[in-house]
Symmetry: D2
Subunit: 261 residues, 4 copies
Amino acid sequence: MTIRAVVWGENVHDRENETVRSLYPDGMHGAIAGALNADPAISATTATLDQPEHGLSESRLRDTDVLTWWGHKAHGDVEDAIVERVARRVWEGMGLIVLHSGHFSKIFRKLMGTPCSLKWREAGEKERVWVINPLHPIAQGLGQSFIVPETEMYGEPFAIPEPLETVFISWYDGGEVFRSGVTYRRGGGSIFYFSPGHEVYPIYHDPNVQTVLRNAVKWAYNPAPALTGIHQAPNVPVDEAPEPIVEKGPHLHKPGEAGLR
Amino acid sequence: MTIRAVVWGENVHDRENETVRSLYPDGMHGAIAGALNADPAISATTATLDQPEHGLSESRLRDTDVLTWWGHKAHGDVEDAIVERVARRVWEGMGLIVLHSGHFSKIFRKLMGTPCSLKWREAGEKERVWVINPLHPIAQGLGQSFIVPETEMYGEPFAIPEPLETVFISWYDGGEVFRSGVTYRRGGGSIFYFSPGHEVYPIYHDPNVQTVLRNAVKWAYNPAPALTGIHQAPNVPVDEAPEPIVEKGPHLHKPGEAGLR
Amino acid sequence: MTIRAVVWGENVHDRENETVRSLYPDGMHGAIAGALNADPAISATTATLDQPEHGLSESRLRDTDVLTWWGHKAHGDVEDAIVERVARRVWEGMGLIVLHSGHFSKIFRKLMGTPCSLKWREAGEKERVWVINPLHPIAQGLGQSFIVPETEMYGEPFAIPEPLETVFISWYDGGEVFRSGVTYRRGGGSIFYFSPGHEVYPIYHDPNVQTVLRNAVKWAYNPAPALTGIHQAPNVPVDEAPEPIVEKGPHLHKPGEAGLR
Amino acid sequence: MTIRAVVWGENVHDRENETVRSLYPDGMHGAIAGALNADPAISATTATLDQPEHGLSESRLRDTDVLTWWGHKAHGDVEDAIVERVARRVWEGMGLIVLHSGHFSKIFRKLMGTPCSLKWREAGEKERVWVINPLHPIAQGLGQSFIVPETEMYGEPFAIPEPLETVFISWYDGGEVFRSGVTYRRGGGSIFYFSPGHEVYPIYHDPNVQTVLRNAVKWAYNPAPALTGIHQAPNVPVDEAPEPIVEKGPHLHKPGEAGLR
């Protein structure tokens, strides 16, 4: 079965900044979607900030298995209602791949519950991405490490919860380290954060980076039906309790009443 | 050193519902603060929804080591700005104890990044709270299990991230189970969720429950100075890199420019 | 691709105890292998304690993708060298499903690093297995909970490390609870422990239990090549350092010398 | 209350290697114990491989709150019975700090359940230890990072389970990274692994390293009574079940019989 991926791109620097435009004539989202579509198991399309509902309507998200997210300059322009909508789909089982400066996106911070802050330096220095977890599906097809020749440094402390799995840790010329590939689960959704991807360097054209992206989409895909019930807090009436019980004590709620929230 | 605890109470049912009022003449927050103050290592005061800034001004939070949170009917009335303020203090190192129906509070859902939904039934049934982690500081002074004679059932699936530590799991007369005591860390802050505490039963007068509350406050206390830098994403200029590097490549940011967010 | 599963059975009570023999005329391993082979994606064979090398020769393990383990009476009779061999294959990426009384097997205790102790009672009571993690691959095809009508009670505290994922928690008639389905990763290997399976009840003939077994084998399967290097601690000579460095300081090891262990 | 620490040292290179002997005239264990005793909250003594029972008799371990472990050349000479004894005390609540080449000690591998392998290079290169978790008790009193001027490189992949908490990650001159400070819990015992400490460099005389050691001992200390019951798997007879049940079904065990293991 083909995995339906949507590559979300902010598409601001892609249009406004000449360096970015020349590196990514189809936008970074276009380059990422192209990399994903090189795998026949994935069918990737794109969505951008400037589209109605940022390209992420209810119906489109319902038909999305895995969403990738790249944003930088305009995190604040993403509507809260769309962020909530994306979070709900993640909880229902949609995979989410958050890229680079997406660490500060509304959706990533919402799902992590932490500031997601870090140190940074834009000096075109070398990054060496080490595979910490060699049998993890996201690390397949890579060597022990790979190099991003020119990168923006992202340095620890990275204010995230302790990961479910640490897949990559990066070494930088300038002396810092960074947990550059980490996984989480939130509700039914699998989440992968991957830090390389600064827009003024050709990072999404790098074969190793593209391998990571394809692996991540396949890893984050969950074929199970959407867990739409996860948003409700159902009452279990006394006469439907798994074991027979006799009701007692005082009550706050009237019989059949919906819970408070 | 005395731990400065603030017991936050919604204080709605405490005033409006006759059963709750008679069980908790000083409000549930009053009963909880009283239980905490029975330990000389803790100095607890209270704050409620109806106070200015819900009793949680910037300066008061700055002087709070551990906050406990009980809300039920009026989660939606808690101002988003106050929720953000509390989250920031948690990330800086303030402990947070979330109680019972607080699973659906804005602050808990914000810190978990999940829906925090569950099943429920208000039938005064028996809950047996099992100690899963007998040497955990929060479980000290308890037996292998303790009984809450009349409880509101909270049942799995509880839509939370996999806990850092599972301290308690509850068994119910009616056939359900629930992870009734779980811990997390978010930034510098330690978080404990504890499910017993429905307002129409005298649960916060129970000696075992009070032991858990005191233990939890002491466990969540971090004496280290507030990690106020966790909210920033500082630039590390090239000439301050830990290792000498030579700048290269194109740039998005001008020298000394603040990062985007 | 077909997953090559080996179902290991102690095969002592299966032969010696009349109740077990009548429930499982082909041994419990036979019943489990039959359940697995009902899925065309799995090809299961069996191995037993009484066979040479307990049926787990080096070459057979090399060709095993996922091993399931049931033992009870004769944990002590499993040779340490075979336990070490199985552990090494797990670290290299072989999946391992540990069943019921296998909690006290040498292999499970070795991989957990804890006593793996628990409470127990053999009274034919009812167990209700709750799905805690509804979108987990191991829980697919089940309802919110399922019943094992007659079970041996296994009760908390279960002395295991905090799980990677908690999939099932069980409720018992007699008042106890148990984390009945938990996952771990050790090296490249995925591990699932599942508690139902006492030999004097027909538990491995239960359709829900069989669904769990098939799901678990598929979940634990890792198609990546064996991580045979995980057992070594390779020296990285100075002239092969990823970044050029100049050697300095005193030495314990002569150039090219193997490390100590 | 004073924390009773025992500093275990292999004491082989300390005596046999002239470089080590001159750096650590009282042995590395002597230097570590001295560093710990600089904190009035800790009372540290030493134990070495060459002593009867390696200095770790049953009664001494019973009176030990936290054990630190340094070994390198003679892991194989540590008796299995003593390793088992130490593991049992960890499970009962004793803290354990494993240092440097102790990653390959029998006790650490037993508690981790993984090979604990890594890459290494002895070239006196620089190590920069980054604080990943700035409010962790083990990181108090340190800056954002500290330097070990001459170190043995330990490089990823480090074959350990995903840590409970990642406290430090190291950067090396030669291009590698390493999770240099990680925590675990095994039964009641808190475990911290810290990688700096190669014997031909004066690392245990370093003030930052000494701060880490003192912090770690205080963090690993659990004042609760020893959890001696963790080794047993008690039967809960039918007439002592928390909830009244009626026995049914066939039996493997006779009433009152001990469980199998």
